[in-house]
């Protein structure tokens, strides 16, 4: 009985110290806030996300129904088309917003798919180690050397152009990096002195995983996610640009850039607006990801 109370008291004392200590993430947060480029990236992203969500609600036009009086008109407040209309008379602002929803959605969902596959695969390989790990990683190496984009195109050709397939195809091919990173991190964490120390001082397996392994994995995962989303958005735009991605009546920034590129001479605005949104989003994600990496991984500095 008495022994237990001392342990309780000890744990309470540890709890207090835990509150006082600056955790890895508080530190990282402070570093991130000081990085102007990353903060700018975050603000741009937030702005684009809010605009894409709220914009269509405030806009009277529909992304499918043409305005019969205005074909290929330049941006103008008089007609009510702030970004002009395309060759079919559809409001470009509405289309850019709807396309943005799709592009961002594909980016996030496909990244989540690759995250789930990659973390599971990498953690299992790293945790089991030995021969299983060796073979699992060899498989990853073999797949890694494949021409990725051609493979996705092959998938789209074979299974038809379906938006869910885009999620799966991109996610299923993009998990390799995650698997490698998580495996490496798990392997090195497993043998770290502080894990050993925690074990010796009587921490349970659950405490070790919750307090040491997961927080240490979380950093790389966050960085990876922020750098993968723009990659995925880029792949989706690439496919849609070629006409192999999102199909009408849905649209995405890549598909809009493609439409705009075809009306380049008569309606340059139909290229410039979607292109700007696409580039700004990728730009913001890249800066934010870079900032997060610097903030969460001080070794790189």
């Amino acid at each position: 009985m008495k022994g237990e109370t001392t342990i309780d008291a000890f744990e309470q004392a540890m709890d207090k110290r835990r509150v006082k200590g600056r955790s890895l993430y508080v530190d990282a947060w402070h570093r991130l806030k000081r990085n102007k480029a990353a903060v700018a990236g975050a603000i741009i992203l937030l702005f684009i996300m809010v605009l894409v969500t709220v914009g269509p609600m405030l806009n009277p036009w529909d992304h499918e129904i043409p305005d019969w009086d205005n074909y290929s008109t330049p941006p103008s407040l008089d007609t009510g088309h702030v970004m002009g209309t395309d060759a079919l008379g559809r409001d470009l602002f509405e289309r850019v917003m709807v396309g943005g929803r799709i592009s961002l959605l594909v980016g996030v969902i496909a990244t989540l798919v690759s995250l789930v596959i990659g973390v599971t695969y990498g953690a299992v390989a790293g945790y089991l180690g030995g021969r299983v790990d060796n073979w699992m990683m060899r498989a990853v190496d073999a797949i890694y050397a494949l021409p990725f984009m051609f493979f996705v195109i092959l998938l789209m050709v074979v299974f038809g152009r379906n938006i869910f397939l885009i999620f799966v195809a991109i996610g299923a091919v993009n998990w390799l990096d995650m698997a490698r990173i998580v495996r490496g991190q798990t392997l090195s964490l497993k043998n770290k002195d502080f894990i050993e120390a925690a074990r010796v001082s009587g921490a349970t397996e659950r405490q070790i995983i919750g307090r040491h392994i997961i927080p240490n994995l979380l950093g790389v995962v966050v960085v990876y996610v922020s750098l993968t989303i723009p990659q995925v958005i880029l792949v989706e735009s690439f496919l849609s640009f070629l006409g192999l991605g999102v199909q009408e009546p849905l649209t995405s920034w890549g598909a809009l850039v493609n439409e705009g590129a075809q009306e380049l001479e008569t309606a340059p605005w139909s290229l410039l607006f979607p292109a700007t949104f696409l580039a700004a989003t990728l730009f913001a994600f890249n800066f934010l990801g870079d900032g997060l990496r610097d903030a969460l991984d001080p070794r790189d500095r």
């Binding site: 494949l146 195109i153 580039a279």
Partner: protein, 307 residues
């Protein structure tokens, strides 16, 4: 070195096999055959067509025959362009694609390395920040966005260069090659800057400076080689990115290269052509990666011994 190169070769072969196998079976489980049309063909004709293209054998026999054909670099007939073989289509497009890709690769590395070194020497100065911000913008603008904008500015508005087509002349190569290499210049610049800064902070550079060596000697004789190592390891992925990028660039500039055939094949569901290009490019990329690895191991002996 020989040992290492054999070891690396052994690991490239399974990749090739996976590539061919997955591509083959993906195509075969695809819904819809190459001879499907609006009007159903009479069964006899369909049987004859399948016999002609040897599609009536068991799948596993078809697979091994395809493997055998590929070993002899025979990708079979195109299903869409009935009078053409895939080999002919690839042979026709390859010189164009390789010229374009080669120019883009050279541009990417010459300008990328140059800009990267320049930024590294001015580390943390306003011009360094400016260059790297511009590089980040360059990375964020995909080449299929940059290409139409370049056309808009230099072909339509200014009228300096032709907007597309291919006749082997330099004027027609400039815009597509620049569009293809822009994101890569930015990327190479970032890698070079990072590694150059790291090298410049290492102790052997300090020693060289302490000895009183002139700064340009320090840079050329000591700093450059180690700083270029990460850039060289990027050669493999860069080549892959060029091949991928050429698919859209050739389409935008209506250039008759392999990439155009590939996209057209994909839209026409020309299975043999798509598969042929995927395997052709796959082999090329694997081969390039292999060569780059060897080059890297030759330059950095640590790699060889680690295994």
């Amino acid at each position: 070195m020989l040992n290492y190169s054999l070891k690396r070769l052994a690991s490239a072969i399974p990749t090739l096999l996976i590539l061919i196998t997955v591509a083959f079976f993906l195509i075969r489980i695809a819904p819809g055959g190459p001879f499907d049309s609006e009007k159903a063909l009479p069964p006899e004709i369909e049987a004859n067509l399948e016999a002609k293209y040897q599609l009536d054998d068991p799948l596993i026999i078809q697979y091994f025959r395809y493997l055998g054909d590929i070993a002899q670099f025979d990708f079979g007939p195109s299903f869409h362009y009935r009078d053409w073989t895939v080999n002919q289509l690839i042979a026709q497009g390859a010189p164009v694609s390789f010229t374009l890709g080669g120019i883009a690769l050279v541009l990417a590395f010459v300008f990328g390395v140059g800009i990267g070194i320049w930024a590294a020497l001015k580390q943390n100065s306003p011009s360094d920040y400016l260059t790297m911000s511009v590089a980040m913008i360059g990375i964020s603008i995909p080449n299929f966005v940059a290409a139409p904008i370049l056309i808009l500015v230099f072909a339509i508005t200014l009228g300096w260069l032709p907007a597309g087509g291919w006749d082997g002349s330099i004027q027609r190569m400039i815009l597509p090659a620049v569009a293809l290499s822009l994101p890569m210049i930015a990327y190479v610049a970032r890698i070079t800057r990072g590694s150059m800064i790291e090298v410049l902070h290492s102790s052997f550079i300090r020693t060289a400076r302490a000895k009183g060596m002139p700064e340009h000697e320090v840079l050329l004789r000591h700093a450059l080689k180690p700083a270029l190592l990460p850039v060289i390891s990027y050669l493999g992925p860069a080549a892959a990115a060029i091949l991928t990028g050429s698919v859209v660039i050739e389409r935008i500039f209506t250039i008759p290269g392999i990439g155009s055939h590939f996209v057209q094949g994909a839209l026409n569901r020309d299975y043999t052509l798509v598969m042929g290009v995927v395997i052709f490019y796959g082999v090329l990329i694997i081969l390039l990666n292999y060569l780059v690895d060897l080059l890297y191991a030759w330059l950095d002996p640590r790699i060889r011994y680690e295994g």
